[in-house]
C-alpha cells in the first residue's frame, strides 16, 4: 500500500519504520527540519520536512494516489485537519483513501469520528482496553472502528454466567447487521454458524453496527453497560 504518515514523533517514526519493513511505500511528513533530517538519515529519502496540515505538502507527499493517510502527531486538532484535508484533496481528483487519526485526548475520539475520520486510535483507550482485558475475566474489547462503514470489530469473552453460555447462536437476540466471523475456543478457531453453541471462556469476534453495541453486549454478556 501507499501510505502517508503525518508527524514524525515517537509514534510516527516507529510506524514509518514498521510500515517500510512491511514492504509498504511510505512517505513521512515531519515539520521539524532537524527531526526530519535525522529520520531521513536512518530510513532514506522518505521524509518531507514540512507541515502536513498545509495542503500543498500533502499533495507533494502524494495524497492524490495514497491508499491511507495516518495523522500521528501529538495533537488532536492537526490530526483532524490533516485527515480532512487529505480527504478533500483526494476527492478533488476523484480518488478515495482511508484516513486514520491518532487521538491523544480520549474525549476527542467520538468527535473525530463524528467529523469524518475513518478510524481513530486512542493510545489512552488502547491502554485502558488492555487493562480492562487484564483485570476483567470476561471482557468486551474494542478491536477496531471502521467509521465509514459505521461498524466496529469487538471481542467478547463469554462468562459462565453469561446468558449466551450453552446456547446456539440462533437462540440469541442478536440484532440485524451483526456478524460473528470467528470464535476462539482455547487454541481452536471456529467459523461459527447459527448452530454453533457458545461455551464459557469462548472468545467471540463480532462485527457490529456501532449503535448496536449495547444490544450485542446484552445478548452475549448479560449486561448492556
Amino acid at each position: 500500500m501507499y501510505i502517508i504518515v503525518a508527524g514524525g514523533g515517537k509514534v510516527g517514526y516507529h510506524l514509518t519504520k514498521a510500515l517500510l519493513a512491511g514492504g509498504h511505500e511510505v512517505v513521512l511528513v515531519e515539520m521539524n527540519a532537524q527531526r526530519a533530517q535525522r529520520i531521513a538519515d536512518e530510513l532514506g529519502s522518505v521524509v518531507i520536512p514540512q507541515r502536513a496540515d498545509e495542503g500543498r505538502w500533502l499533495i507533494e507527499a502524494g495524497v492524490e494516489r495514497a491508499d491511507v493517510v495516518i495523522a500521528a502527531t501529538g495533537y488532536d486538532e492537526p490530526n483532524l485537519i490533516i485527515c480532512q484535508l487529505a480527504e478533500l484533496l483526494a476527492r478533488r481528483k476523484n480518488h478515495t483513501l482511508r484516513t486514520i487519526a491518532r487521538v491523544n485526548h480520549p474525549k476527542n475520539e467520538p468527535v473525530l469520528k463524528r467529523l469524518g475520520v475513518d478510524a481513530t486510535v486512542s493510545t489512552t483507550s488502547v491502554i485502558l482496553g488492555l487493562i480492562e482485558e487484564e483485570l476483567s475475566a470476561h471482557p468486551a474489547v474494542h478491536l477496531m472502528t471502521l467509521r465509514r462503514a459505521g461498524i466496529e470489530l469487538m471481542e467478547f469473552v463469554i462468562g459462565a454466567e453469561s446468558p449466551a453460555a450453552g446456547k446456539p447462536l440462533s437462540a440469541l437476540a442478536i440484532p440485524a447487521g451483526v456478524a460473528f466471523p470467528l470464535v476462539v475456543r482455547g487454541a481452536e478457531t471456529i467459523r461459527p454458524d447459527d448452530s454453533t453453541t457458545l461455551r464459557a471462556e469462548d472468545a467471540i469476534i463480532a462485527l457490529l453496527p456501532i449503535d448496536q453495541e449495547p444490544r450485542v453486549r446484552e445478548a452475549l454478556m448479560g449486561t448492556a453497560g
Binding site: 496540515d53 498545509e54 495542503g55 500543498r56 495533537y75 488532536d76 486538532e77 492537526p78 483532524l80 485537519i81 480532512q84 484535508l85 478533500l88 484533496l89 474525549k107 476527542n108 468527535v111 463524528r114 467529523l115
Partner: protein, 165 residues
C-alpha cells in the same frame, strides 16, 4: 421611503459563544456585549480576559480549551445562535467550528483561518471562514492604490485612519 440599514441595537439579540480572547475575539465580544447580545467567551488564559475585555463587558468568561465539549457547554453553546472561533491556531478554530456545527447544531458559525488554502478547502465543507491575512493584504492593497490617501500629508492620513477604524 428608502430602506436604510437598521442600527445594530435593533437587530435580534443573539446568544453567541466566542473562543479566543485575544485582540480579535475580545474586540468582537466587547462589541456584541455592548449591543446587548448574550455572549460567552472562552480562553485558556485568564490574563487575556483582563487585558482585552472592556470593564463594562457583561458576558460570561470561561477558562478552558475551546475544543472541550464541557468548556463549550459552560460558555453556553447549547442553544447558542452563533459561534465564532478566533484563537490563533487554524486547526483549533476549524475543529472547534465543526464541533459547534455538527455536535451542537449551532446555525451561524464563523472560523478564523490564516491559511488561504485551508480556508478554501474548509469552505468546501460548508464552513464560513475569515482569513485575516487575505483581509489584511486586501486592505493594504486598497491603501496602496488609493490615490487620495497619498496626496495627503502624513499627519492627515494617520488622522483619517484613526477616524475610520
Amino acid at each position: 421611503m428608502a430602506a436604510r440599514p437598521r442600527p445594530a441595537e435593533h437587530r435580534a439579540k443573539m446568544k453567541v459563544v466566542i473562543i479566543g480572547s485575544g485582540r480579535v475575539g475580545a474586540s468582537l465580544a466587547n462589541r456584541l456585549s455592548k449591543e446587548g447580545h448574550d455572549v460567552g467567551i472562552v480562553d485558556v488564559s485568564a490574563d487575556s480576559f483582563e487585558r482585552y475585555l472592556d470593564a463594562d463587558y457583561t458576558g460570561r468568561t470561561v477558562l478552558g480549551d475551546g475544543i472541550d465539549e464541557d468548556v463549550l457547554r459552560e460558555a453556553g453553546i447549547e442553544g447558542a445562535d452563533a459561534f465564532v472561533a478566533a484563537v490563533h491556531g487554524d486547526n483549533h478554530n476549524l475543529m472547534a467550528a465543526q464541533m459547534a456545527k455538527v455536535v451542537f447544531g449551532v446555525k451561524r458559525v464563523v472560523a478564523r483561518c490564516n491559511d488561504p488554502v485551508r480556508m478554501e478547502l474548509f469552505e468546501e465543507l460548508g464552513l464560513a471562514t475569515i482569513c485575516p491575512s487575505l483581509l489584511g493584504a486586501r486592505a493594504l492593497y486598497g491603501a496602496l492604490m488609493d490615490e487620495t490617501l497619498h496626496q495627503r500629508d502624513i499627519a492627515g492620513a494617520i488622522e483619517r485612519l484613526l477616524v475610520e477604524r
